[in-house]
C-alpha cells in the first residue's frame, strides 16, 4: 500500500511541478493574502467597542477611614464595579500569584491589585496606589480596549475621590477660601496612583500574532480546495475508475490524495513564512517545529477530510472547487485567522467550537504566547482537532465509497 500511496503522491507532485497555473495560485494566493493582510489590516487594526472585561481583583487594603461615614473605600469601589456591565462579575482573589495564574491561562483579561492602606491614604490626603496587570499576548486588541476602559475608570475614580476630599476639607476652611482651595486641590490632585503592568515579556506586534492565523488559514484552504478538487478531478476524468479496477485499495487512493494535498499546502506554508520573515521581519517567534508541524499536518488533514466530503457531495470538479472556496471565504473571518474570536460578538459562541478555530488557537499558543511570557497548553485543543479530523474522515470515506460507485 505504501508504494501505491507514494506513486499517487509522486504523480501529483510531477503534475504540480509542470502546471504553471497551479503554481500561480499556490504562490500568488498566499503571497497576496499575507501582504494585503499584513500591510492593510496589520497597520490599521483599530480599537473595538468593549462589551465585557473579565477582571480579577486582589484587595490588600484592610485599612479604614478615620471618618466612620467613609468606611473602606476599596470595598465600596469593588461593589461599584460589580454593578457595572463592563466588569460584572468581578472575581476576587486573596493573593496576587493566584490571580496572575488565571491571567496567564486566559481566564482573566486583567488583574487589579489594590494596595495596602488604600483607604487610609485616600482619606488622609496621601496617594493611594493600585496596580493593573494585563497580558497583551493572548489577545492583543483586547489590551487596547482594557487599557482604555481602565483609564476611564481610574480618571472617574480620581475625580470622585478628589471631590470627596474637597468636600471634607471645606468643612475646615472659611467659606471665602473654599473656591481657591477647591481649585488648588483639583490642580494638585492625583489621589489614586495607577501602575499598569503588562505581563507579556515584550511589545506586541500584530504581524506576529497574525502569522499563525495565516498558516492555519492556508492549511484549511489548501486542505479544502486541493482535496476536494483533486478527488473530483480524478473522478471526472475517469482516473478513479482506472485506480478502482487496479489492485489499489480505496484507502491507498484516499491517503495518497490527502498526502498530495499536504505537499501542495506545505509549499504555501513556506511562502507565508518566507514573506513574513523577509518583508515583516517576523522571525523571533517560538517556531517549535516539533509542535507546529504536527498541528499544521493535523489541520491540513482535517480540512482535507472535509474536502473529501465536499468532493463526495459535488457533482463535478468546478462545484467542488466552488464549495471549497466559498467555505474558506466565510470561515477565514470567523476562525481567528485575522480577527480575534473574542471580537466576533454573536458569532463567538459558534466560532469557538469550530475545529479550525482550535487549530489557529493552538498554533498561536505555541508560536506567539511564549514570546510574550504566556503558556503553551494545547492538549484539549489538539484532542478536539484530532477527534473532528477522525469524524470528518469517517464520514468522508463513507461518502467517497458510495459516490464512487455512482460515478464509475
Amino acid at each position: 500500500m505504501l508504494r501505491q500511496v507514494w506513486a499517487i503522491v509522486k504523480k501529483d507532485a510531477r503534475r504540480l511541478w509542470r502546471n504553471k497555473s497551479d503554481w500561480t495560485f499556490l504562490i500568488g494566493f498566499p503571497l497576496v493574502l499575507t501582504l494585503v493582510v499584513g500591510y492593510a489590516i496589520g497597520s490599521l487594526y483599530g480599537e473595538k467597542d468593549s462589551i465585557h472585561i473579565k477582571i480579577g481583583i486582589v484587595n490588600q487594603d484592610t485599612s479604614t477611614s478615620p471618618m466612620p461615614e467613609v468606611g473602606n473605600v476599596s470595598e465600596r469601589m469593588i461593589a461599584d464595579m460589580n454593578t457595572t456591565e463592563v466588569f460584572k462579575p468581578v472575581h476576587t482573589f486573596n493573593n496576587i500569584s493566584q490571580a496572575l495564574e488565571k491571567l496567564k491561562f486566559g481566564e482573566l483579561e486583567a488583574v487589579m491589585v489594590i494596595h495596602q492602606n488604600f483607604t487610609w491614604n485616600l482619606v488622609t490626603l496621601h496617594q493611594a496606589n493600585m496596580t493593573i496587570y494585563v497580558d497583551t499576548s493572548t489577545d492583543p486588541t483586547r489590551y487596547q480596549i482594557i487599557s482604555s476602559v481602565i483609564n476611564t475608570f481610574t480618571v472617574e475614580l480620581t475625580r470622585k475621590i478628589t471631590q470627596e476630599r474637597i468636600n471634607v476639607a471645606n468643612q475646615y476652611v472659611p467659606a471665602e477660601n473654599q473656591t481657591i482651595l477647591s481649585e488648588y486641590m483639583w490642580a494638585m490632585s492625583e489621589p489614586v496612583g495607577v501602575t499598569i503592568v503588562d505581563t507579556a515579556v515584550r511589545k506586541f506586534r500584530y504581524v506576529e500574532w497574525l502569522l499563525p492565523g495565516i498558516l492555519g488559514l492556508e492549511a484549511i484552504f489548501g486542505g479544502f480546495a486541493f482535496s476536494a478538487g483533486i478527488i473530483a478531478y480524478e473522478r471526472e476524468r475517469g482516473h478513479l475508475k482506472r485506480m478502482v479496477v487496479s489492485p489499489t485499495s480505496s484507502w491507498a487512493i484516499l491517503v495518497g490524495e490527502m498526502f498530495s494535498s499536504l505537499i501542495r499546502v506545505s509549499i504555501a506554508f513556506l511562502v507565508v513564512i518566507s514573506v513574513n520573515v523577509v518583508v515583516f521581519n517576523v522571525y523571533d517567534l517560538n517556531w517549535a517545529p516539533e509542535l507546529t508541524i504536527p498541528i499544521l499536518i493535523l489541520t491540513t488533514l482535517n480540512a482535507s477530510a472535509l474536502g473529501l466530503i465536499i468532493s463526495a457531495i459535488s457533482k463535478n470538479q468546478s462545484m467542488a472547487n466552488g464549495l471549497a472556496n466559498m467555505m474558506t471565504i466565510i470561515l477565514q473571518f470567523i476562525i481567528g485567522s485575522y480577527i480575534p474570536v473574542s471580537q466576533l460578538g454573536p458569532l463567538e459562541p459558534i466560532a469557538q467550537y469550530l475545529p479550525w478555530t482550535m487549530a489557529n488557537e493552538a498554533l498561536r499558543r505555541v508560536m506567539v504566547n511564549p514570546i510574550y511570557g504566556g503558556s503553551i497548553i494545547i492538549g484539549p485543543l489538539i484532542t478536539y482537532l484530532a477527534a473532528s479530523t477522525f469524524a470528518f474522515l469517517a464520514i468522508g470515506a463513507f461518502l467517497y465509497k458510495i459516490t464512487n460507485k455512482r460515478y464509475v
Binding site: A7, K10, K11, R14, R15, G238, R242, S246, P247
Partner: protein, 317 residues
C-alpha cells in the same frame, strides 16, 4: 466446449438495469484461454455496461461473472491483478509523459520497482510506440497514440485477460489499422482478449468468436465465419445520392422474403436470389428517384448478420 479448451471468462445470465431501464438482459457467454472474443453491437447496446460488470465496477442485479473460476464480485481482490482494462475514453494525465503515465499505472498494479522499466518498455513495444513517443507529454499525442497508450497501460501487468472496450472508436482509418496490427500481434501471443466494438470489420478481423448484442441481449454467438455462413444469402449494396422513406416502404413490400435496410448512403438488401431481384430494384429506384450511383452483389459481413437478426444497421443503434 471443445475438450481441452479452458474457459477463462464466464458470464452467466447477467442482467443489469439503470432504474427501470434494463440495459443488460440475461447475457451469457464465455471466453476461452488464448482466444479473442468480440462483443459486437451498436452504441447503447449495453457493451460498456457489460464491460464494467466484468471488471467489477458494477454489480449485476442477476447472474454472475467468473474469471478462472473466481467470482469477480465476491473476490475482487484476487481478480484485479489478473485483468488489464483499456477503457473507451482516454484516461491519462495529459501533463505527464506517456512513460510517466505508464509508470504510475505500473505502481497501481504493484509491479516490483526493479521491473517497472522493463514492463513499460515491453508494453510500449507491443503497441508500437517508440521511446521518443513515450517521452512526450500525452497532451501532444494524437488520438491513435492515446489509444495505443491505453492498450499499453492495460498490458503492463501482463494480464491473463485483456479487456478492450471500443479501442478504436473515434480513430481515423490509418490509426485504426495501426491499432489492429498491435492487437493482431497480441493475438499471436495467444493472449485472451475480450473486445467490444461497433465496427463489424474490427470484430470480423480480430475475433475468434463473436457475440452480437442488441438492446442488452445476445442475439447470436459463434465464429465470424459461421455467423456469416449461417445467412446463406447474398448482399446487394446500393449506393445512392438520396435515401427516401417511400422507396424503402415500397421495396420492403416488393422484395418479400428479403431484408432491406437503409444505411448512411444507400441501402443493403439480403437475399437468396440476387439475380432475380436486381432488375426490380433498379425499376423501383428509378421510380422513386433515389439517385442510384452503384450496385454491387457481395458476400455477407457481420453487419449483414446483425441486419438479418435485428432488422437494422449497426450504426442505427
Amino acid at each position: 466446449m471443445i475438450e481441452g479448451d479452458v474457459v477463462l471468462l464466464e458470464v452467466q445470465d447477467v442482467s443489469f438495469s439503470f432504474g427501470d431501464n434494463k440495459v443488460v438482459d440475461q447475457v451469457s457467454f464465455s471466453v476461452k484461454e488464448g482466444n479473442c472474443f468480440g462483443l459486437l453491437g451498436p452504441n447503447g447496446a449495453g457493451k460498456t455496461t457489460l464491460t464494467k460488470i466484468i471488471v467489477g465496477l458494477l454489480q449485476p442485479k442477476e447472474g454472475h461473472v467468473t474469471i478462472n473460476g473466481i467470482d469477480v464480485h465476491r473476490e475482487a481482490g484476487k481478480i484485479k491483478p489478473m485483468i488489464g482494462v483499456c477503457f473507451q475514453e482516454s484516461i491519462f494525465y495529459e501533463d505527464l509523459t506517456g512513460k510517466e503515465n505508464l509508470e504510475f499505472v505500473a505502481s497501481l498494479y504493484n509491479i516490483p520497482r526493479g521491473k517497472v522499466a522493463e514492463a513499460v518498455s515491453n508494453s510500449l513495444n507491443r503497441v508500437l510506440l517508440t521511446e521518443k513517443d513515450a517521452n512526450k507529454r500525452v497532451e501532444h499525442y494524437s488520438g491513435g497514440m492515446k489509444r495505443r497508450l491505453a492498450v499499453a497501460a492495460a498490458l503492463l501487468n501482463d494480464p491473463q485477460l485483456l479487456i478492450l472496450d471500443e479501442p478504436t472508436t473515434g480513430l481515423d482509418p490509418q490509426a485504426r489499422r495501426a491499432l489492429w496490427d498491435a492487437i493482431e500481434a497480441l493475438k499471436k501471443e495467444e493472449r485472451s482478449i475480450l473486445l467490444t466494438t461497433h465496427y463489424m470489420e474490427e470484430a470480423d478481423i480480430l475475433s475468434d468468436r463473436v457475440a452480437i448484442i442488441d438492446k442488452g441481449k445476445i442475439v447470436a454467438s459463434d465464429t465470424p465465419k459461421a455467423l456469416k455462413d449461417s445467412l446463406g444469402e447474398s448482399v446487394i449494396e446500393l449506393t445512392c445520392s438520396l435515401t427516401k422513406s417511400k422507396f424503402l416502404e415500397n421495396a420492403k413490400q416488393a422484395l418479400r422474403g428479403s431484408v432491406i435496410v437503409s444505411l448512411e448512403n444507400g441501402y443493403r438488401v439480403l437475399t437468396r436470389e440476387p439475380d432475380n431481384l436486381l432488375p426490380e430494384i433498379v425499376a423501383l429506384g428509378t421510380k422513386h428517384e433515389i439517385g442510384l450511383v452503384s450496385m454491387k452483389v457481395s458476400t455477407p459481413t457481420l453487419e449483414d448478420v446483425f441486419i438479418k437478426l435485428t432488422g437494422k444497421g449497426l450504426r442505427e443503434g
